[in-house]
């Protein structure tokens, strides 16, 4: 369930929806695509209401689902032609466009091979290609890089970047912060069905009180030690989980010396210290007390 999610995406913009699994990203997307009904509010795509004129809005959207929604025993080209026709292309238009899309996703040489013979990354690329067949105004991608090798992931990210640079509006959902940071101009962070932060990457990072996060891994965590850390003047927030403490600080060098020194004198074993510069991951951590990958 999602509630009170409000955002707008400008033509040609690349917008990211970031959030952990189960946050409500896919639900939001399904409602935009007209797959799920919504009982309140309004969704418009290119000025048309999704509720009142779903067929018109669907023509403008290309959806890349999280799963590989293709026919495995059909060839890559036949799949693309089929999906093109479902978006209203004629047979000739679909065949022509399929050749262009295959070139675009780098699988021209594998056009006649069955999808079931493809690697996970190649399937993902055709999965994207199917959404590009009708040259949509808005491309919606729901975690398109889940479970693939780094090479294919890079190829997909570059493809999306290129499409956006060519003028296509993109809504990209992921729980990989670095993908959203790389691709998107504006980002909405979703958790438990609600939008908890919205803005450009810089705007979001500026919201971080105590921009740097010191991550301290200890053999055990004592409440006395946590109380000590919280009372330090340069510490803004402390989040502990298992044997790790995440500490949001304003003065990094000063904080490291003070905190690690106290841990040692308290008889705790410091197993690792990690310093993380301000980013969306730390913002999410600060806002929710949880990691994006939790």
């Amino acid at each position: 369930m999602v509630k009170r999610i409000t955002f707008s995406v400008q033509k040609g913009e690349s917008f990211g929806l970031l959030g952990p699994n189960g946050a409500g990203k896919s639900t939001t997307i399904s409602m935009i695509c007209g797959l799920l009904p919504f009982d309140a509010g309004e969704i418009e795509v290119a000025g048309k209401s999704v509720k009142k004129d779903p067929m018109s809005t669907k023509k403008k959207i290309g959806v890349v689902p999280q799963d590989i929604a293709l026919y495995p025993t059909m060839s890559a080209k036949d799949n693309l032609v089929f999906w093109g026709k479902m978006y209203g292309l004629t047979s000739a238009q679909a065949n022509k466009r399929a050749a262009e899309v295959l070139e675009y996703v780098g699988l021209k040489d594998r056009a006649k091979e069955k999808i079931e013979t493809f690697s996970g990354g190649m399937k993902r690329r055709i999965n994207i290609g199917a959404a590009l067949m009708h040259k949509p105004e808005l491309l919606i991608m729901d975690e398109p890089t889940v479970g693939i090798d780094p090479q294919s992931r890079n190829h997909i990210l570059e493809t999306v970047k290129k499409l956006n640079q060519e003028g296509m509006t993109v809504i990209y959902t992921s729980h990989y912060m670095e993908e959203v940071e790389y691709l998107c101009e504006r980002i909405g962070i979703v958790d438990h069905g609600q939008m908890i932060a919205l803005g450009t990457k810089q705007e979001l990072c500026n919201r971080l009180a105590g921009g740097t996060v010191i991550s301290l891994q200890l053999n055990e965590i004592e409440s006395e030690f946590i109380t000590f850390v919280k009372e330090l003047s340069f510490v803004e927030q402390v989040v502990s989980k298992d044997n790790t403490i995440e500490i949001f600080v304003t003065h990094t060098n000063l904080a490291i010396g003070e905190i690690v020194g106290k841990a040692v004198t308290s008889g705790l074993q410091v197993q690792a210290v990690h310093v993380q510069e301000p980013n969306l991951e730390s913002l999410f951590l600060q806002l929710t007390g949880r990691s994006l990958r939790d």
């Binding site: 799963d67 590989i68 999906w83 026709k85 199917a130």
Partner: protein
């Protein structure tokens, strides 16, 4: 239009599925061949009688002997399995039989019909080869049948003539005895010529079809039923693999999608039926009847029914595995109850009545009717029943199927 695209895509996928092809196309053909051949002796069949060369010894120019040889043994009906060779003597006939130049011999005695007016006929001598008992019994059957008829007619005509001679119209001169006798004799002769031996097939139940014909119809009826599960699975699979959600994200209506899936199953069933009937006809010489239009109409209507039922099953179940169970058990029950395994006539009355709930029973009886020769009026009821099942199933399936 998009429904046709979806249907064409489904057909394309199914035709390229080797396992499905084996199951839906080859298996019924193999079973038809096996069952049709194995049960031809039990259920009758179209196997032909062996060609029998009969050596005939005619010792004088007896009129009855000439009739027997020319109008019976050499008749058109007998040509298929009897070949006559004239043998000069009984001794020669025995010799030819020994040398296997003939399969059996018939020696017609001198003045064979000499005492026919008294209702008596001299015995024929039948020469047979102990190693060719079937041919011997064929020849014996023909000769006995002929002589019995001749004697019966001779006795009948004698009685009729005696009655006629003593009747009032003849005695008072109102009826010409000679003319009446000639007319009666002519009619009897016609009867004798017409009532020659013929080969008839053993009926199955009330109809006269061979085992190959029966099992061709039965297997077509049974294996088209499998389209119910394959069609239902196809729709459930689209839902499970998210292609259905993707279809719904395109500007394609729910009705178009469901109708496209229905149409895909219908297309495949029609193709399956067409391949099956053509192959059984040309490869196994199965006679599907004289009216091919009736065969085509029943095939199309049945394909519509199974495609409709596939939508109903898809709406009633959620898992593909459940469809497999229905395919494994449900269709077998339908097949047995509907007469696809054994002829309906061997079942008790109650089961024969229960068979009416199975669509395959209606299509099987329709095919058997067509094979035996039937009218469009006779087919009206099964067509109506099958169409009703199809329309109701499709309607419920379309309304009830959950897209997500």
């Amino acid at each position: 239009m998009k429904s046709f695209t979806i249907a064409w895509k489904d057909l394309h996928i199914r035709l390229k599925d080797r396992k499905g092809f084996l199951m839906m196309i080859l298996m019924p053909l193999i079973l038809t061949a096996i069952l049709g051949t194995a049960l031809s002796g039990v259920m009758g069949g179209e196997e032909k009688l062996p060609l029998t060369i009969v050596g005939v010894v005619v010792q004088d120019q007896d009129e009855l002997a000439t009739t027997f040889v020319d109008d019976v043994l050499k008749s058109k009906d007998m040509q298929e399995f009897i070949k006559v060779r004239t043998v000069p003597s009984e001794k020669k006939a025995k010799d030819w039989l020994k040398k296997e130049k003939i399969d059996a011999g018939v020696v017609i005695p001198v003045k064979w019909s000499g005492h026919l007016k008294d209702g008596q006929l001299k015995d024929l001598t039948l020469l047979t080869d102990p190693g060719k008992s079937l041919q011997a019994s064929i020849v014996e059957s023909i000769t006995t049948s002929f002589t019995d008829k001749v004697v019966t007619m001779a006795v009948s005509s004698k009685v009729v003539m005696e009655q006629l001679a003593s009747s009032t119209p003849v005695l008072t001169g109102k009826l010409d005895m000679r003319k009446a006798a000639a007319e009666i004799a002519g009619q009897l002769q016609e009867q004798m010529k017409a009532a020659t031996n013929s080969v008839s097939e053993t009926p199955i139940g009330k109809r006269s079809v061979s085992s190959s014909q029966y099992y061709a119809a039965a297997m077509a009826a049974m294996f088209l039923l499998y389209n119910i599960t394959t069609g239902a699975k196809s729709l459930l699979n689209e839902r499970a693999t998210e292609t259905l959600a993707r279809l719904l994200s395109t500007p394609t209506g729910r009705m178009q999608i469901v109708f496209g899936k229905f149409l895909g199953t219908f297309y495949f069933a029609v193709i399956q039926f067409t391949i099956f009937t053509l192959t059984t006809h040309f490869a196994f010489q199965v006679d599907w009847g004289k009216n091919l239009m009736q065969v085509a109409v029943i095939g199309l209507v049945y394909s519509f029914t199974v495609a409709g039922l596939s939508m109903l099953i898809a709406a009633l179940i959620r898992e593909e595995k459940t469809a497999d169970v229905i395919g494994g058990i449900g269709i077998q029950i339908f097949a047995i109850l509907g007469g696809s395994m054994l002829p309906l006539s061997v079942f008790p009355d109650l089961m024969q009545k229960a068979a009416n709930i199975t669509p395959n029973k209606w299509v099987l009886t329709s095919f058997i009717d067509i094979m035996s020769g039937t009218t469009w009026n006779t087919l009206l009821l099964p067509v109506t029943v099958l169409l009703t099942i199809g329309i109701i199933s499709l309607s419920i399936g379309t309304v009830k199927f959950k897209l997500r």
